[in-house]
């Protein structure tokens, strides 16, 4: 069996680094992994997505529709953009943070009745697809770690709590230390721990998790 994780977010949030850390950790753990990464236009603020497939039964770099076990979304709006990939009753691991695209904001000033999409709206819609939704306040946790740019590592902490995520924690920690800038290793490891703890307060009430040591 393979574990399929569809990761999405906004350019600049560190999706590719997150993928690299997980992939390197898989290599250390001796686990097969394949990814398909979508970026290319280098600018910030565009939609970015990664197909991450762990386990020996995954062939294609792209997850077939309806076969993602987890939809990991570093920005709340983006969650709804890729639902065709998520299994019915799959897990949504979603950031509380919304980064409103300029086009949405410019609509707000030209149309008086127009409103921003909210996290509540998104969760409400998502419930038509799955009940397994965890909303993570990753920016607050990242700031708590001492570096607001570690949201991606907070989510890695959340993932590592899951029973289905078989990559060894030791390998993930090592992989974080090798991939992030030296000055930020401590902050990233802290962000990882904060993410893991937060999962035990939310996600783990919905799906099987590894016990905390």
């Amino acid at each position: 069996m393979s574990l399929n994780i569809f990761i999405c977010g906004v350019g600049g949030q560190g999706l590719v680094l997150l993928t690299t850390v997980i992939g390197n950790a898989c290599a250390k753990s001796g686990i097969k992994v394949v990814t398909g990464e979508m970026y290319g236009l280098s600018q910030r603020s565009g939609a970015v997505s990664v197909h991450l497939r762990i386990g020996k039964d995954a062939f294609s770099p792209l997850i077939p529709y309806g076969e993602a076990d987890i939809l990991l979304s570093l920005e709340a709006i983006e969650t709804l953009r890729y639902l065709e990939y998520l299994k019915k009753d799959g897990i949504v691991l979603m950031n509380k943070r919304i980064m409103h695209p300029p086009i949405e904001t410019s609509k707000l000033i030209t149309e008086k009745d127009s409103k921003y999409v909210t996290v509540e709206d998104i969760v409400y819609k998502l419930k038509e697809w799955t009940q397994n939704i965890a909303v993570v306040d990753a920016l607050t946790l990242a700031k708590e770690s001492g570096n607001a740019r570690t949201e991606n590592t907070v989510f890695l902490g959340c993932l590592s709590a899951l029973d289905a995520f078989k990559v060894k924690e030791k390998d993930i920690r090592e992989s974080i230390s090798e991939a992030v800038p030296k000055k930020t290793i401590e902050q990233n490891l802290k962000a990882f721990d904060l993410g893991k703890q937060s999962a035990h307060g939310s996600l783990c009430t919905l799906v099987p998790c590894r016990p905390l040591p």
Partner: protein, 633 residues
């Protein structure tokens, strides 16, 4: 990947991006000269070679364009030295003049050309199928499906290149370049870099007229030999099953097919031929595969390249064979494939039930309708945003005065001007074409043409068109947006900076110096952030009765921020002072910066995490409500 995997001397398993695996394969083959112009999806080949440069003795250039890159490699290969270049699909068009001739002249040292097509036009202007370069230029072509194959094929390509004295194309697609996976890396035994005595080699690489005719015959002989050799290649393999149905595929489509067969519960129930050498095709391998089959399904992205060849081979080997693919309507020539597209096509060809694709996509559609689109846009702090705000204001004033315009855009971050909420642009074709097109327009339209190019695009392909404009006295306005680096592909160095590959010292070349030297009489240089001042300069350039060039200079925000972080400088964000702001929304209406949003009271606020501190919005605010955050000492 981490750099240490690229540098590792030992065999091991490493997690690598397709592009990184290409670099590792070349290093294992002891490549000595590499040259590139960046282009998605190949840019990480350049970046990885650049990051690793200080650890090795290879020569590396970030060249002005793909043609020059290929020529740098050809020069090395003529002297018997192994070389590699990588380019995106449309970059091959630029290099093709040289490519076709190399088929005739041949090479001595191994020359490998990585050519990355971009089905779906993720980051390109077209879905060009570069496989036709192989047969058209008589240059052998290998197609990997995964990072592992990419590494293995690059290494092997050097041997093939030297054995047959011909360059070898490694043809990839975005989903191979940007696919990561576990790669078994081999040993790294690097030889010492040594200069060669040309006279002692006794080589010649000319071709013209009678010489070309002679070399054409040799080229045909070489291709026949390669076809025979490829019949034995480990890169073509079959998976046999007890069935009279077969699937022929190559590239990443092979991986989609494996997934599709699992989804259709056809694993080990149909025969499979995976082709890795797609020019010249291994005809005997294909003949043997199809001779006892009743049906064959061809799964390949873009043009029916394999399908047409297969039809020809089947005419001889198995005339009754039913061939399914694009001609039968089971697959499309448009857009990239995925496991679902492969499953749907195979099911349709074989008369099986498969409905997942439409059902899932259709169901998910109604969720997407509730969220705003997220178009690519200029980063917070991007100098282009300031340039375009000023240009828009200048154009508006000119229109009021009775002068209208044609907006000729080009390839770079500034291409994004075509996306909402701006949606401006009359044409954008390919590298440098904005200036070429403006030449022609200046003869035939009543409006004033405005051409826009970046610094890297200027050096790449715009200079000949500009020389042409001066020589012929053509009248238009040209903006050169100089942000110091080739920003869109990942901020690589170009002649606009004093750096080159690996951060080494290079000679900086003056854009305005070139313009003046070739005789442009109106040349102004401005700071892209000075919006108010630039409106006037742009107006002058639009009014000028002749060719007017404005160089808009300010470094790329991502490049600048990275440099600031390296120097330990803080990026200080701005904020909107609520007590001052009267909400005229000038910031939002004109500037569209992604760092801006509205709070619950519809009060503009700046996200401190996203703000780059560029200050341009504060200069635009008519009531000075945007202020720099005070930093405690």
């Amino acid at each position: 990947m981490v750099l240490k995997d690229i540098l590792s001397k030992e065999k091991k398993a490493a997690f690598m991006l397709g592009n990184e695996a290409i670099v590792r394969g070349a290093l294992e083959a002891d490549v000595k000269v590499v040259a590139f112009y960046p282009g998605a999806p190949t840019s990480e080949v350049l970046d990885t070679f650049s990051d690793a440069l200080s650890n090795f003795d290879y020569q590396m250039e970030i060249t002005t364009n793909e043609k020059v890159a290929l020529e740098v490699c050809a020069g090395a290969a003529f002297a018997g030295v192994r070389s590699l270049t990588a380019m995106k699909s449309v970059g091959t068009n630029v290099a093709s003049d040289t490519l076709f001739v190399l088929g005739y002249t041949g090479v001595k040292g191994g020359l490998v050309i990585v050519m990355a097509d971009d089905p779906h036009a993720h980051s390109s202007q077209s879905e060009q199928d570069g496989r036709f370069f192989g047969p058209n230029a008589y240059i052998p072509m290998l197609e990997p499906s995964s990072p592992q194959e990419a590494k293995d094929m690059v290494k092997k390509a050097f041997e093939i290149s030297e054995r047959h004295r011909v360059p070898v194309i490694i043809r990839t697609v975005t989903r191979v370049n940007h696919q990561s996976g576990i790669v078994q890396i081999g040993e790294l035994n690097r030889g010492e870099f040594k200069k060669v005595k040309w006279k002692e080699l006794n080589e010649e690489y000319t071709t013209l007229g009678e010489v070309a005719r002679r070399k054409k015959l040799k080229m045909l002989e070489r291709t026949a030999k390669l076809a025979e050799e490829f019949d034995q290649s480990e890169f073509n393999f079959t998976k046999q099953a007890d069935s009279d149905v077969g699937i022929v595929t190559s590239s990443v489509s092979y991986l989609h097919v494996l997934e599709a067969l699992r989804m259709l519960k056809l694993q080990n129930k149909v025969n499979l031929l995976k082709l890795g050498t797609t020019y010249p095709l291994p005809k005997n391998t294909i003949k043997n595969f199809i001779k006892n089959l009743k049906k064959v399904v061809v799964v390949e992205e873009l043009s029916p390249y394999l399908e047409k060849e297969l039809c020809g081979i089947a005419k001889e080997a198995n005339p009754d064979l039913a061939i399914f693919g694009k001609k039968t309507g089971d697959f499309s020539e448009a857009w990239e494939y995925n496991p679902n597209v492969a499953a749907k096509g195979i099911a349709s060809a074989l008369g099986l039930e498969y409905t997942v694709t439409e059902a899932m996509v259709e169901e998910a559609k109604k969720f997407k309708e509730t969220i705003p689109a997220r178009y690519p846009t200029f980063c917070a702090g991007c100098p282009h945003r300031g340039t375009f705000v000023a240009l828009n204001q200048a154009l508006k004033i000119q229109v009021a005065k009775g002068q209208e315009h044609y907006f000729s855009n080009d390839i770079g971050c500034y291409s994004m001007w075509i996306y909402p909420p701006i949606s401006r642009g009359d044409s954008s074709l390919c590298m440098g074409a904005s200036v070429g097109v403006a030449n022609g327009l200046s003869h035939v339209i009543e409006e004033r043409a405005v051409a826009v190019v970046g610094d890297s695009t200027f050096f790449h392909a715009a200079i000949p068109a500009l020389v042409n404009a001066v020589h012929n006295g053509n009248k238009f306005t040209m903006l050169i947006l100089d942000n110091s680096v080739t920003a869109m592909t990942g901020q690589q160095y170009n002649p606009s900076t004093e750096f080159t590959a690996g951060g080494r010292q290079g000679k900086k070349i003056s854009i305005e110096g070139i313009c003046k030297a070739i005789g442009v009489e109106f040349v102004e240089v401005v700071d892209s952030y000075d919006v108010k001042g630039n409106v006037e300069v742009f107006r002058k350039a639009l009014d000028y009765d002749g060719l007017a060039v404005v160089v808009c200079r300010r470094e790329c925000a991502l490049y600048g921020d990275r440099n600031k972080r390296r120097r330990g400088e803080k990026i200080v964000p701005f904020y909107v002072d609520k007590d001052v702001c009267k909400r005229p929304y000038v910031c939002l209406r004109t500037f569209y910066c992604p760092a801006y949003e509205l709070d619950e009271d519809r009060q503009p606020r700046i996200s401190p995490e996203l703000c780059d501190g560029c200050s341009v919005c504060s200069r635009l605010c008519p009531i000075q409500s945007v202020k720099r955050t005070e930093v405690k000492a």
